[in-house]
Symmetry: D2
Subunit: 331 residues, 4 copies
Amino acid sequence: MKNVAIFGAGRIGRIHAANLAALSGVSLKAVCDPVGSAAAELAQQHGATVSTVEAIFADPSIDVVAIASSTDTHSDLIARAAKAGKHIFCEKPIDLSVPRAQACADAVKAAGVACMIGFQRRFDPTFNEARTRMDRGDIGKPEMLVVTSRDPGAPPAEYLKASGGIFRDMLIHDFDIFRWILCADGDEAETLHATGSCLIDPAIGLIGDIDCAAVTIRTRQGRLAQINTSRRAAYGYDQRFEVLGSKGMLQCGNHRPSEVVQSDAQGVSSDTPEHFFLQRYREAYRLEIAHFFECLQSGQPFRTSIADGVAAQKLADAAAQSLASGQVVRL
Amino acid sequence: MKNVAIFGAGRIGRIHAANLAALSGVSLKAVCDPVGSAAAELAQQHGATVSTVEAIFADPSIDVVAIASSTDTHSDLIARAAKAGKHIFCEKPIDLSVPRAQACADAVKAAGVACMIGFQRRFDPTFNEARTRMDRGDIGKPEMLVVTSRDPGAPPAEYLKASGGIFRDMLIHDFDIFRWILCADGDEAETLHATGSCLIDPAIGLIGDIDCAAVTIRTRQGRLAQINTSRRAAYGYDQRFEVLGSKGMLQCGNHRPSEVVQSDAQGVSSDTPEHFFLQRYREAYRLEIAHFFECLQSGQPFRTSIADGVAAQKLADAAAQSLASGQVVRL
Amino acid sequence: MKNVAIFGAGRIGRIHAANLAALSGVSLKAVCDPVGSAAAELAQQHGATVSTVEAIFADPSIDVVAIASSTDTHSDLIARAAKAGKHIFCEKPIDLSVPRAQACADAVKAAGVACMIGFQRRFDPTFNEARTRMDRGDIGKPEMLVVTSRDPGAPPAEYLKASGGIFRDMLIHDFDIFRWILCADGDEAETLHATGSCLIDPAIGLIGDIDCAAVTIRTRQGRLAQINTSRRAAYGYDQRFEVLGSKGMLQCGNHRPSEVVQSDAQGVSSDTPEHFFLQRYREAYRLEIAHFFECLQSGQPFRTSIADGVAAQKLADAAAQSLASGQVVRL
Amino acid sequence: MKNVAIFGAGRIGRIHAANLAALSGVSLKAVCDPVGSAAAELAQQHGATVSTVEAIFADPSIDVVAIASSTDTHSDLIARAAKAGKHIFCEKPIDLSVPRAQACADAVKAAGVACMIGFQRRFDPTFNEARTRMDRGDIGKPEMLVVTSRDPGAPPAEYLKASGGIFRDMLIHDFDIFRWILCADGDEAETLHATGSCLIDPAIGLIGDIDCAAVTIRTRQGRLAQINTSRRAAYGYDQRFEVLGSKGMLQCGNHRPSEVVQSDAQGVSSDTPEHFFLQRYREAYRLEIAHFFECLQSGQPFRTSIADGVAAQKLADAAAQSLASGQVVRL
């Protein structure tokens, strides 16, 4: 039995809590959140107790911490968890600063604890099937990747102030997809170009951020990746990628709430994509947590290591730098 | 060079005229239509002359007649053409009466002229591709067929009075598809059940016809076919079939004017099907006429013989009888 | 808190057990199955006890029985549950005999207990979305229904001996879909024609059953339904229907394990449908049980009443009679 | 009646000849090609005469020249045609050198002749429908464009030696699509980044060219475009774009030879895209030539002016420069 404490009882914390609580051999023991009522409600729901950071790290019966608290707390909690000898599941990102993220990775390594970063997209049934087919050789050698990643609507600029900017907040997932799909054989990004605009909400521009971006990455082996992203897709959460290989192409389409197709005088229409990440990645979140505990059990490496987390942060930093300078960045 | 006279300068006559005039080795010489202005216009367009039934059959330089006049003239023109030794392309149906249709077939045989009936759907690129794959064995042995055949809207009841009823007017094509797809190995219909309703336009009921129909055919070998049809599909001309075989299924979808997909808050929508038969079967009409002249040249049998025309008529008769009696008809 | 006993610890029993055990306010107390080890395993998994039919009906703390045992036990268990004052969730069918099914319905009514029959397809997200749109008027008045219902492969003939035949075993669901979709306003079947063949496995023919069937139903209001079914679809479990209305059409497509589309020299291909009913209707089973307990709580009527169960049985009987006689059956 | 002379009796010349010969009011008078037999065959087919450059420009009865000869002859023929007062239809590109292309534009303007450049994609029914919907406001203001443009296979490196490189040879069409779709309101490219690799055929690298490319363009108004291209798509000619606007997205999919969908144990698959440009753009070529002569007749401006041709060349030059320097180019 693995005893777990969770930091963060917000939207994503509640999902992880429910998913891990449903696993056999896993028990949610403690919940910690600055908002007392949220912590209490989540704890009550799963028969756990409300606790504090200090108490959790001091409790020898806690084997694992799941970090789903606000981004600015991640690196500190990882460092303390490592020191306390707890295994760690941490939501992306490790930290908005690459050096601090790297320090976390070092601390984890030194402590010898296991640490997995929550890039849930690698567990999405569609994305994962594409990777499986690539590995099987269905499309030969991968050569080009096009990632389309669009939110249904932009959050208030106020909310984005602490986000680290679109590349660290939103494209971090896409940078991870790039590495997972196009660098599966150890290839890495060599040059990166990013550009973008503020086309949706001028308030986002006023805080120095953009709401549409276009990134191009060329790898050491010459593979090419293009990522296009927008904070607003009027038709919903748009999460696709396609990878072209020497023998074919794999396209990952959106998921729909139903398979109804309506034909009328206006057209032949299917559902818009599942609304947002909580819907689209519901199954991915479930599989991700199950994978985490399976690996803890078996000793197999995680599909998304803390090194992957640091690598994605570095690409986000490079993108921010390219946008600021208007030039290509060499990695 | 084959010299052709065409009977009928209406909608379908103009299509056949344009298609045959574009063929090398084929020359449209004469046009005959009771509406003089229509005949004149079509003749002028293709450098042909306006002529009469008598003159055409008397003209030894005419090798071929294309019959695209009103249904009630078909059998007489076929008989006279056969007698005059002209090869014949005739729009479906041969005749609303099976005995008269059979008499035409006999006359054609006796005269030794070639005669092809215009079941253009067999030349539709999609339908034909399905048949090609069946023949290739892609889906093993065919077992079941589902035909969906719906017009975009019902014509006025007045117009339908002389049509012979929905089975002879509209399903005749679907009966031919049934035979072409499910009886490719010589199998034939054994029992037929038809039912239907007047749900769209009560005036159609008043003339003793129906506007929605459901037909089931079981073949001697036990294969099953279901045809569903309606005079009204609000989304346009719906022309599909699917055939299930022991190793898989082939589905023939509608054709769309464009491959644009629009995603917005309302859904993800593609075009409605091509509007009606002139659009959907434009390519089929072209290929059909080309096939006719190729076969005339090569001596190969037509894909749609006059016997096919008679056989489809017999199924239409059986359907009408089943509807009237409320019982299953044995063929 | 509703305390539940479940009869049947097989494939479908385990699904219902897991789904109801996950509901708040519902507790699985007892499991009963002639196979002791299966009962023990399921009981252990959910913290329930193994029990007997007698003990369950004698236990006043049991509020609800879920019947997922073999078909031949259903009607007896319903009758005893009704007598014992337990609310009932019962897998389809009520009984292979319509009079016995009707007797169950009478017993349930007399006892004043609640009873829902497990037609899970009404809870499938796709099928349910179609019905919702129909109710909303998206396609106007419904006129025609085409149901395609095909299993991935035929079970051994031996297994089918006790099934009651293809209409009672397999099409029972499709008859319910017909009533749910085309008779939502109180319309009912008026005439029914069924035919079929044994094309897949001669052994199925030897036990007097068929493996492919085609059914046509005409309602009192003249609506038309066609059902085509086969025990074998080489591409997997094929569960679709389409309903044509005066203003448009709704098509319910299959569900796929992933949204990957692979393009290579062979074609552009997506996944085959989810393998079989346990996969395709996983979500439907979950929603069905949740609905049952919500209705118990709220007093709202079930979406699938015992009367619906009887009505579907009557259609299955009519189909068997039509097949045997080769004639149309009037209901 | 417009009398036309055509330069070039190769693949594309034959298409234009057939299309213009089919137009009423247009007559193909002369064919000129260095390969005498090709010229003779094409002339014979359309009742035209074989002629020479000199004779064509000296013939006052020739109103229009269609230039479909090799790329290196375009600018000279345009200049001479302008001088001779002939209207001009010229295949892309005007010239591999932007100054020479601009000189052609100047010559055309000075001579007051009409000149259209053959960017046939603007006439593709799918692409054109997307533009029509954009103009209608269906997706609000356009913000992002993703163009996927892939050939079925790389030509021999030898063939590419005189092509001007992938940007001038292949992406020239995509640059025009970018301008047509994203700059419809007069917006223009401001910065461009191009990168690429030689991943398919090392021989292409040896002649200093690449076979995969990724281009990003940002417009003055901040719109973003990404173009991905490859000389090899194992599944055929891949010609798509999608444009995201403030209210939705338009996606232009590939065209398929048929609408057959095959379901079997391997998957559910539709046709690969139409093989190559002669198939995919067959209708576009037809509409393009018809448009040219309609505009000549009506005096309306062409959809693709010589200025569009020059502008696309400038983007191709910028892309080549960006690739060579590894830096972003400001336009």
